[in-house]
Structures are given as structure tokens and as C-alpha cells.
Point group: C2
Chain length 770, copies 2
């Protein structure tokens, strides 16, 4: 040990050697006492190590002929901090990490890899402190063989928190069964500008819908942990806190110019709900909120989150967000100090947090502040039982509930993924062409999304094994009645203006009874993608028009897609347009030129099955729009819950969206009776007035009348889905949370099938006693 190292030994108590009988090792002691005891034994260097998550996890190992070996990089990292706080992305696989089936760990060998790393970390740690393994689980674990679920925007379209909770629970089982611990999940970003490439990661534009789904996520992944997390449950890091959906121009990680009101009413409720539901951690966002980037924003991280909301969990910074603060502090040491002082506990990839020891010595941070952060990291490790069961094998052996999905992972995951996809698909327009009638015996399946699953997955997905998933074409072939002739031509690529494939598609359309035209965008990263240091795509390559870093000004699909649709439509054969997309592209033509239009968002690998089932009428389309669909980028913003200001139309365009938030057709129709109010409960009679069974999402909107601030036109305050047989009537009961109506004297309650429909729905007036 050299002199410099020695200077780190300035902990609050004398350095002690590890002791197997120490309090912190006693599983019967309280976590608080164990954490306090452990902290008191740690050196400054060891403490700083706990706050770091510097390495890209895929650099920690190398595949060998017989398994895995650890790299020098990992050795250097654990030596530097005499252990390791957290390791990001050990199992991450994608074009950026460069990990694929040839180099990475699959379902079969991930636990062994995790245990290999963990054994090394524990061995290098004087006090035997295990590392946290942190993984991306945005819509399924982003690892080889991880089940891919539909993206969040599709989840938003389901309006089905219960189903999503099951999917989240499944993802947690997969994650933990592979030796990882902490799940990074986008949940808090609100989709206010579809130009943003990360729109697909949002549950939609509405704070209430996002809150309900964030709660479901936390419940599903974490269970009801109490002090200890079950071995098949995963603590969640909710991304991103806060306001990232409001960056100007839809530009990734740019500033937001939000006022306090927008921030609190639109962008914070999902975080508040997640914190109340017990989320273990949140990630501070890149963007600036009213003066400072979130990672350097004490008003946000400390005053609001910790003090007002009494959040006791962990705050992680987004990748390299701490180092960015050096732009105004002058160097990375002070950048790290600013982040820690603002409320960040654990950094990601940054250099700044590696110098926290120096920051303490320079007086930039107080050691108590550092200790508080270390306490939160250690606390989470104790809650995970990592000191008792640091290895995946142990975890699984002691699981209280046998991990059903681990027993039959492929089937359970696929079924849940397909169920979510089915529930997400939203029918926007239908002139009667759907469901496909039995008289349609010749179907042409056309378009760049028709015969591939590559673009169904969304961003943040690992490479898939060949043969995984079903395309629209495959789904139709699987589910169509025998004897139906299905033809296919791609017509054009997703991007660019090459129309040379259109004549072939037109010929098939002309010879068919019905054309299914699958259009859309893609977030599929390829090895050619040029990545920024934080893994965001820096330049769109191949056919990428969406995903992190891939923002789009004009919201247009590749021009050839419009040409294809026009040409197919001109044949006179009814064209059903299926959009596979991570944001609402501006496709006003699709409404005019199609016999029916539906959006599947990114439905996941088995989206083709779900789409086919719905096209053929085996399932009722039950998705509802979680975002307003704009006519063009020029009319943005178009969210429904703007202030109650009457917008005159633009001279050249309406100010209203093409399709309203909440909109979605069924194959049957529903009638809603007038709402009946009793206390804070609203009852409404819903009748299936059509000839098929179907599901409607009963949406309760509030329109404030007498109130203390200028109200929004409408606010979604409750929803309840109900499935009814043809002709069936049921009374649906919805509950209002009085907290949502704070500051209001009277308000109208309107129950309808979409925000637009609510504008003309029969209201009932609620009078609140203030």
C-alpha cells in the first residue's frame, strides 16, 4: 500500500479485518443495524467503491471454449476499489455492447457467469461485500434469451395494469434466475413530443395512465417485499426522473423548459406513484429542469424526492450524466461532488464518482453525505439477501415461490408477450373491412413490415435466436383458414424512396380480395449503428427511424411507403394498413386510403400472431391510444390534456390530432349510459350494442369548473376495462381519488370511450367541499 492509498483510510472508525461473527454478517439482526455496522468498518476507498458502477459489464468477461473467464479490466476495477459496488450490464447483449450468441451468456449459462464474477468481487472485498448486478429490463431482460415484451408504448395501449404486472413479474423471475439483481426500467417518461426517439419507452402522454402502469411494474417486479426481496423478485430502478419526455423539440437529453405546474401535474405523477408503490430506486434523467441537469439538481433529488416524498431508496445517475456536470464545475472531481451533494447515490460509467475520496479530502463533500449514499447501496444489498446468498444458485435454491417461468420459460414468456401484443393492437379506423371475412380467400400481405420480425422488437433488445417470433405474414399463414391463398411482396424498404418493388406488390394486390399493408418504422440497431459513449444511437444507420438518439423532425415514414400505399389503394382492392411503430408517425394518408387502419406499436417477437388473430377476428381489437396521433409534426403539440384554451385552427392545418387519446375501435359497439355519482364513486351502465363480444375501456375524465388554477380541458382520472357479450349490459363502477381534485370546487365528470368523445359526453357535476 502506497502513501496515497493510505490517505484513503480516513473512515470514521479504525479499519477492522473481516470478521465472520461481525454484526453485519448476522442475518437475524436488523438491516439498519447491519448496514451501520458494516459502514463503520469501511475505509473511504471502500465506500467510494460502493458508489461506483463504472464498468461496462460485458467487458468483465470473455467466453472461452469451456465457459467464461474474467478479464484484466475486471481485476483492475475490483483492485482499484477493493471490491465493486455495482456492475452494469453483465448480461447486456446488443449491437452496442457487441455481445451476441457467439460471445455472450444465454439463459443456460448466465447464472454461472454471474457467480464467477461475484465470487471474484467478494474475494477482492476485505469485508466480503457482494456486487449489485444491474441490468436493462425495459420490456423484458435485455439479455440473450430474455423474453422480449412489447415496448412500453404498446403496454400503454393495453390499459391493462394487471396483465402488465404479470409480464413484469415474469421478467423479474428471468432476471433473478440468471444471477442479476436490479432492473432498469423506463416508466417515468411521458410522451409529449413524438419526434423524440424514446417515445416507445413511454407509457403514453397521460400521467394517470402512466402512474397506474408504473405501480403495476413495481408490484410485478418487486412483489410486496417488506424488508427483504423474494429471490424471484427484482428491485426496480425507475427511469427517468424527471421531465425527460418534455425536452425541447423532442431532442434526446436536451433541456426541458417546463414550469413547476407542468412538471408536477404531468411529469411527476408516475414517479410519485412508483415511489408510493415502493420502488427501490430511481434514475436521474439527463435533461435540465429549470436550471440544472437532474443529476445536479438538489431541488429535484433532495428537496422533492427525499424530503417531500420521503423516498428512502437509491438514486442512480444516468450513464455519464455525472461527468457532464464538469461543463460547469470545471472538473470531474467537483462534478462528482455536485452530483453526490444533489442527491445521486450511485453513478453509471462516470469518472467523477471515482474521485469522491478526493472530493471528501478537498472538502467538496462531507463524509456524512458520502456515508448516506453508501448506506443506501448497502441497504439494498441487504434487502436482496446478498450477504447470505451472493450467488445465483443460492438465490434459486431458497426461492419462496417456485419460479414458474424459470421452469417453462419459453412458453410462459411467449404467452404473456403475445397477450400484451394482442391487448395493445389498436384499431383506429374500419370501414367494415375487418375482421377479414371468410369470403376473402386471396390475401396479399405487403409492405416492409410484412415478412420480418426484425422491426417488431423496439430499442433495448438483445439479438434474437434465428426463428424466434412471427411476422404478420407468418401469423396470417398460421391462423388463416385452410384454403386461403396468401401472397407476399415487400414493395419497398422502411426508409428511402426506392419504389422499384411497388409494381410487384400492386400486381399481388390487384389479384387479391384484400391487401394487408404493413408499414412503419424501426428501432432495430445493427452492427453498423454508430453509438455515442452512453449507448444511444448517434447516427441512424440502415433502417432505424426510432429509438434512443434517433429523433425525427418530420414524423414521416420513408417516402416509398406512402407511394406503396397509394399504389395499392389505387388497385381498388381494400387495403388494411398495419402500422408497426415506436411512435405515432404522421400518416394522414393511411386514414384516407385504407379500408381499415391499426397500429400494433412494436408488438414484440410474436406480434405477427397477435396481429393475425385480430385481423382475422379471432380476437377483438381492444387497444386504446395512449397518445394523441398527430396529423403532422408542424401541429405539435397535440396532447389532449392541454389547458382549457380554445385553439383556433392553424391557417394551414387543424390544431387537433388525427386520432384522439383513448381512441380505439372494437369489432362490436358499446353504448354508455349517463354517469351516476355517489360520493367519489361513479357508476355507468355499459351495453354491448353489437353482435360480437368485445372489450371497452371505460374512461373517466374530469373537466374542472370552479378551481384555483386554470384547468386543463380534460384529465383522465380513472378507467376500467370491461368485456361484454353481445347485448350484455353491465354497470361499471369507477373510483375517484379526491387528492386528484385538490384545489377544485366543482368539476364535471365525463365518461367516454376517448378524450375526444368525452368533450361531448353527458356530464355529471361533482361538488367538492374544500
Amino acid at each position: 500500500m502506497n502513501a496515497h492509498d493510505r490517505s484513503f483510510f480516513t473512515g470514521t472508525s479504525a479499519v477492522q479485518t473481516p470478521n465472520q461473527t461481525a454484526l453485519y454478517r448476522n442475518p437475524t439482526a436488523s438491516i439498519q443495524a447491519r448496514t451501520r455496522d458494516l459502514l463503520s468498518r469501511m475505509t473511504l476507498r471502500e465506500k467510494v467503491g460502493q458508489l461506483n458502477q463504472r464498468m461496462y459489464g460485458w467487458n468483465a468477461y470473455r467466453r472461452t471454449r469451456s465457459g467464461f473467464e474474467l478479464t484484466e479490466a475486471l481485476h483492475a476495477e475490483t483492485e482499484r476499489f477493493a471490491g465493486l459496488g455495482a456492475l452494469y450490464g453483465l448480461l447486456r447483449a446488443d449491437a452496442w455492447s457487441g455481445v451476441d450468441h457467439a460471445t455472450g451468456a444465454g439463459a443456460a449459462d448466465s447464472a454461472a457467469l454471474a457467480d464467477l464474477v461475484q465470487r471474484h468481487v467478494v474475494g477482492e472485498s476485505r469485508l466480503g461485500i457482494p456486487a449489485l448486478f444491474v441490468e436493462e429490463v425495459p420490456h423484458g431482460h435485455m439479455a440473450l434469451d430474455g423474453t422480449v415484451f412489447p415496448v412500453n408504448l404498446a403496454v400503454g395501449a393495453t390499459w391493462d395494469p394487471e396483465l402488465y404486472e404479470q409480464a413484469a413479474a415474469h421478467a423479474a423471475v428471468e432476471l433473478r434466475s440468471r444471477g442479476a439483481h436490479l432492473a432498469l426500467v423506463s416508466a417515468l417518461d411521458i410522451a409529449r413530443d413524438p419526434r423524440w426517439g424514446r417515445t416507445e419507452e413511454c407509457f403514453g402522454e397521460d400521467p394517470y395512465l402512466a402512474s397506474r402502469l408504473t405501480e403495476a411494474l413495481v408490484r410485478g417486479m418487486q412483489g410486496n417485499p417488506g424488508e427483504l426481496f423474494a429471490p424471484d423478485k427484482a428491485p426496480v430502478v425507475l427511469k427517468h426522473f424527471a421531465g425527460q419526455g418534455a425536452t425541447i423539440g423532442g431532442r434526446n437529453s436536451a433541456e426541458s423548459e417546463l414550469g413547476a405546474r407542468e412538471l408536477h401535474e404531468i411529469h411527476l405523477p408516475a414517479a410519485r406513484a412508483g415511489v408510493r408503490a415502493g420502488a427501490a430506486a430511481v434514475m436521474a434523467a439527463y435533461n435540465e429542469v429549470d436550471g440544472m441537469p437532474c443529476a445536479g439538481n438538489p431541488a429535484l433529488l433532495t428537496e422533492l424526492l427525499r424530503e417531500r416524498w420521503e423516498f428512502e431508496g437509491l438514486v442512480m445517475a444516468d450513464g455519464l450524466a455525472v461527468d457532464r456536470l464538469a461543463r460547469i464545475t470545471g472538473d470531474k472531481v467537483s462534478a462528482g461532488a455536485l452530483a453526490l451533494n444533489s442527491g445521486v447515490d450511485l453513478s453509471l460509467w462516470d469518472e467523477g464518482f471515482t474521485h469522491l475520496g478526493e472530493a471528501v479530502e478537498r472538502g467538496l463533500v462531507r463524509e456524512e453525505t458520502l456515508d448516506a449514499a453508501v448506506t443506501r447501496v448497502l441497504h439494498l444489498k441487504f434487502r436482496l439477501g446478498l450477504f447470505e446468498r451472493p450467488y445465483a444458485a443460492d438465490q434459486l435454491a431458497t426461492s419462496r415461490t417456485p419460479p414458474a417461468a424459470a421452469a417453462a420459460p419459453a412458453t410462459a414468456g411467449r404467452d404473456l408477450s403475445t397477450a400484451l401484443a394482442r391487448a395493445a393492437i389498436t384499431l383506429l379506423h374500419n370501414n367494415g373491412a375487418l375482421p377479414i371475412p371468410s369470403t376473402a380467400t386471396r390475401i396479399a400481405v405487403l409492405g416492409p413490415q410484412a415478412a420480418t420480425t426484425a422491426h417488431q422488437l423496439g430499442d433495448y433488445t438483445a439479438p434474437q435466436r434465428p426463428g424466434t417470433g412471427t411476422s404478420v405474414l407468418a401469423g396470417l399463414r398460421r391462423f388463416a383458414a385452410p384454403g386461403v391463398e396468401i401472397t407476399h411482396a415487400r414493395g419497398c424498404a422502411l426508409t428511402g424512396g426506392d419504389t422499384s418493388g411497388i409494381p410487384e406488390a400492386v400486381a399481388l394486390a390487384g389479384a387479391a380480395d384484400l391487401a394487408v399493408v404493413a408499414l412503419g418504422g424501426s428501432s432495430a440497431r445493427t452492427p453498423e449503428t454508430d453509438f455515442a459513449a452512453n449507448g444511444a444511437a448517434q447516427q441512424a444507420s440502415s433502417q432505424m427511424t426510432c429509438g434512443e438518439g434517433v429523433d425525427l423532425a418530420g414524423l414521416r415514414l420513408g417516402e416509398a411507403q406512402y407511394a406503396l400505399l397509394r399504389a395499392v389503394s389505387a388497385t381498388g382492392t381494400p387495403a388494411v394498413v398495419v402500422l408497426v411503430q415506436g411512435r405515432p408517425y404522421a400518416v394522414p394518408e393511411a386514414a384516407d386510403l385504407s379500408a381499415a387502419l391499426l397500429t400494433a406499436w412494436y408488438p414484440g417477437p410474436w406480434g405477427g400472431d397477435a396481429i393475425a388473430e385480430i385481423l382475422l377476428g379471432h380476437a377483438d381489437p381492444s387497444g386504446r391510444l395512449p397518445v394523441s396521433v398527430p396529423r403532422s409534426a408542424a401541429q405539435l403539440p397535440v396532447y389532449y390534456n392541454h389547458k382549457d384554451t380554445e385553439y383556433g385552427a392553424y391557417v394551414d392545418e387543424s390544431a387537433e390530432p388525427l386520432y384522439s387519446f383513448g381512441h380505439g375501435l372494437s369489432y362490436t359497439t358499446f353504448a354508455y349510459g349517463p354517469p351516476r355519482l355517489s360520493g367519489h364513486t361513479v357508476a355507468v351502465d355499459v351495453t354491448n350494442t353489437g353482435e360480437r363480444h368485445g372489450r371497452t375501456v371505460v374512461q373517466l375524465y374530469v373537466r374542472r369548473l370552479l378551481t384555483s388554477v386554470w384547468p386543463r380541458t380534460l384529465e383522465l382520472c380513472a378507467f376500467e376495462a370491461v368485456t361484454l357479450a353481445a347485448g350484455e349490459l353491465r354497470t361499471v363502477t369507477l373510483h375517484l381519488d379526491p387528492d386528484q381534485l385538490a384545489g377544485t370546487g366543482t368539476a364535471e365528470i365525463r365518461v367516454a370511450e376517448s378524450a375526444r368523445a368525452a368533450l361531448t359526453a353527458v356530464p355529471v357535476v361533482l361538488r367538492l367541499t374544500r
Copy 2:
């Protein structure tokens, strides 16, 4: 007097009869004492009357064969309040008011009309209180024969506060010489979204530039009044307070979602500067700022404006803005109370303020609050000397400085208007085609803006007498050398897709040495325009694509204009494009297809002269962009002073504007030496490196380094124009206001010819001791 009227007599002292020897009538007493005395004599009804400005002024009179007569409407109004507080728009003339040369008052008879009304008001007032005559003076007095100046956006392009101050002084002379008192002038709105139809009313996107011009406006109009305004000076109502330039989607009077930082750094500085310069009044804006419309926003009007800024002037509400508050208060009485309690003194057209007596009686407002507002109205009347000289004739007779412009109004006004137009014209691109060489003896003048002055004027202009002004065609015919053949075809209309006129234009272009193609937009209201109750255009009629209420999503000119430009360009004849416009339209083609491109904004009636002088090289183009020019609406926002966040390009478009804020070419070139710093003074050597004299605007930008909040990329902090002969070198000195750099430790000073150029300019580092 009936019982109800009697109930109004609840003033703080007994009702007294008017008394010619009363203190308030004594001109040697202090204004404060006079106001206090007068207030003490007033009934509640009379007080409420002082806060009202309900009538449309043009409804107060009717033209007769021999002059004017007063209407029943005016009689009813003065009877209702036993007098009249203020009268809006007595001299207003436009399509909305329906006033034209046949029905309204021109320069010759306005004073007589004003005096007729004033005599009636004073006669109806028990205490002989004269009315304030309030007029729109956005770019010259919006009355028949009022001199029309270029719109504010053009004024912003001059970067010439001194010249603008002269124009403002001229407008004040015209206003007062016609018997009116108070000038409503747009100055505070910052142009952040060119979709907004009122962009033309903004000085640009930059708070510093807007502040300097707002100060010039106040100085020019008000002079240096001390207690009393000179008879040829006019108190100014600065419009609009605050944040109206940031309404979402560029939608007129919609909410803004601004945070405190954007509000304070971008949208408030011009107001702060105007208040410091002594502005007599501000107008509360329509838009909501973080919870409440400005007229009902005590945080803005009282806490910020009156308490923190110590503003002692008048706060006027925008038209019908008070009544809009009934949306949340439940009725107009409480709406009026909310506005008064928030800080509004004088309403405009509203019913709410007429019920303030009832509001007092219902306990919704305290009489002291009402008294404070009345005091401010009366105070302004005393400062104007209205009690001594209520009539226009008296005013002019006692003018301290003889109103030069009144002596020769047409010439002086026209010269100033033309000078502003000349200074505003901005050359964006020039491949050498300009100035038009003497070898070009055949010039084709084409396009919908070529031969008309109708669209040069902008919104808020009165009907012009036939023959007023010069078009581009007329200007070129006037200034071109003898023997130059000038031909003309319109080619197409401003709006729509009719291309039938293009062949004629192409033929002329083909036969010419040079084509001048005048394109653009229009804010010209016509009798067919459909107006909202507040006078905003409700639907664009005829060729309107800009102006209040005329917001534009796509920022595109009429499609035929693009076709015309393409066709003319295809002839091979060099095409010089002149844009006459009230916002930056998206015309990326103009840069590619033209030999030179310039924007004249709305240059006013004599804009054609100014444009011709510059095209022919009789004057150097010296305008600089006060706004960033976008490539399209899809990439908004594009202002230069965003936070220092590196924007990756959109997939389909750059995130950078087509032309940068501050950009503008000269016919000569300039070289800037490195900046030299001495204290807060920056010196830079500027050399005219070309062969002609010319004017450059030396722009000083600050780029903050070590600072307490996340900085903007650049901030304009000083500018200075300098005119140099060919080859001349001059040292230009700029002064930094240390207040502008609060919270900053070190900053780079960059001096350049545009914001974009500043990004790569040699910096000098300024260290501030904190």
C-alpha cells in the same frame, strides 16, 4: 338617482360637489396630493368608471356632413359611470373596426373629434375628470393618415435603437397632435416560435436585443418626463406581460408551459428594461403562465412587477381577458375581482370590471385595492396634464418642443419609415448577383409581392390613402438608371396553388439579365376577414397567412410561390429573391435556387424604395437577423440561445437553423480582430476588408464556463454598429453589464458577426470575482 345608484355612494368621504378651487384642480400642488384629494371626493360608481375601458372607441362617434356627432352608445356609457375612465381606439381604423376614410377621422380632423368626445366626458363627470384616449401604436399610430413604420420584427433587424427611438418619438407626436394620449405598443413578446402569427410584433428571439429596443421605444415616446409628460410625448403601454411569445405550438393566446428560468431569462428582460426606462404602463397578456392567465396572476402582476420591480405605473388587461377568468371563478363579477386583486388596474372591453362596485359590496375586493387602481389611473391623467389641458388644441399650444413632424408630417414620417426599412433589409445569401451590376439592363420584376404595397404593412395598420407607398417594382423604376428596361409579371398569388401565371413570368425572366422575385406572406386584413370579439382574425381570408390569430403550422408559403421560383430559376437567369414577410417562412429552396436572397420583413409603405436602393447598391444591406430562420416547422425550436446541450441532428433534418440569429451580409466584408478585455470593457479592431463602405453590427456573445446553473450556448450581451469606409480600421468598444453575468465565475467573450460565427470565434476569458 334610484336606490341602487345610491348604494354606490360608499366612498371614504362624503360626496362633494365639484369645486374649481379644490386641491386636485391646483396645478401647483403635487400630483400625489391632487390624486389623493380627487379620490377622496369620488363615489364608488365614479371610481369603478375610472377603471373601465369598455367601449370600442369607433362606436363613440358618427361622421356627419359637417364633422362628427356623438352616439347614443357614448352617452349611455358616460351616464353609466358618471364619466369615463378610458376610451380605446377612438381613432382606430381597420377592417375590424370598419373605419375607413369615408367614416373615420384623418390627420386633419382627429383632434376635433377627440375634443368633442372629451368635452362630453368632462361635462358628464361630476368632478370634471377627463378620459384617457388609448390608441394602438404598434408600428405607427393605427389611425387614418398615421405614418406606418416597419413592423417590430423589421425594427429588430435594424439593431439600431437610436433610429427606432426617432421613429417612436415621431409616432408620439402624431398621436398627441391628434388628441390621443396613451400608446399601446407590442414590445415584450419574444419570438420563439415562428408559427405564431404575431411573430411580426416581436423585436426578435433575443431578450437583450428586445430590451435595448424597448428602452428606445420608451425613451422615444415618453421622452424624459419626470412628473409631467410633454405635450408631444406619449406614455406607453408595453404589450404583453409576460411570456406570450412562448405559447405552446405558436398558438395565439394559448398557455405557456415555461419554467421560472425561461420566463426570467428570456421573456422578462424586455419588460424589466422597459420598467426601468420608466414605461407608464404594461398590458397583462392573455396566456397562462404556470397556472394562471396573466390577468389573474398575482405572482406576476403583484409580487414580481409591483413588489420586486417596484413598478408604479398602470397595469391594463388585454381585451376581454378579465371576462375569460369567469371560466374558473364562475361569473364575471368574481372574474373582475380576481383580476383587480391580482394587479390589473384598467380593463379593456370587459364586463367584469363594470361590476367592481358589486364586487366591493360582496366583499370580493377591498375598497383600498380598488382605490389603489383608481389612484394609478388618475395619476397618469395628472402626469399628462389632462386636468389643465384636456383638449388637443390646448396640448399643442403648450408643447415645449415644437412638434417638427406635425409641421411636416408626411415627409418626416416617410423618411423615418424608409430609413428603418432600409436598415432592416437583411441579405442572407449572395453569390455576387447583388448589387445589381450596371450591365444588367433588363430586369424582370416578378412575384406576388412585386407590384403591390398591400402586403408590406403588417397587421395593426389603418387603411392607406390610394397612392401611398412604393412597391418593389415602383422602387426599381424610380431608382434604376435611365435606360434599364424593367418588366413585370405577378406569376402567382401569395396563397394557393394556381400556377397559371407562371409561364408569363418565365418568359420575362428568360428575356432578362436578372430576375427579382418578390415572394412572402401577408397580414393584410380585408373586409372579408372574420374577426373574434377581441379583433384577432378568426379565419384567414383572402391572402392572410400572418398576423394576430393567423397562426401557421407548416411555415410554408403558398405552393405556387415555390413553383414560380423553381420555374424562374430554371430559365438560367439569375434570380434574386426578396421576401416580404412577418415571420421567417420555411423557404429552403430560396437559398438553393436563388443568386441572392434577402428578407425585408414587412418594411412599411415605402419598403419598395428601400428594397430598390439596396438591390441597386445605392445603400448597403445592413440588417441582421433578429430571429433564427428555420429549415422547416418540424425542427422547431431553433433559437440560438438554448441551453448548452449538443443536439444531434434529427434523422431526417438538421437541428440547426438555415440562417443564424445575427446573420446578415454586406456588400463589403469585415475582419474582426481578437477581443481585448479590460475590466468589463471589450475592445475589438474591425476592418472593412472590401471595396465598398459598409456597416457591420459587432455582436458580443457570452459563453459561460464556470457557473451556478446550466448555461446557454451563447448569450448576446452587447452590440455596436459601425460604418466603415473601404479599408478602414476602427476599434469598437463594447461594455458588459456585470448584472448580466450574475452567478457566473468565468465566461468566454466572443465577438462575431452572428451567433453561428461566435461559436468558432476566438474567445477571451472573463473571470468574475463572486
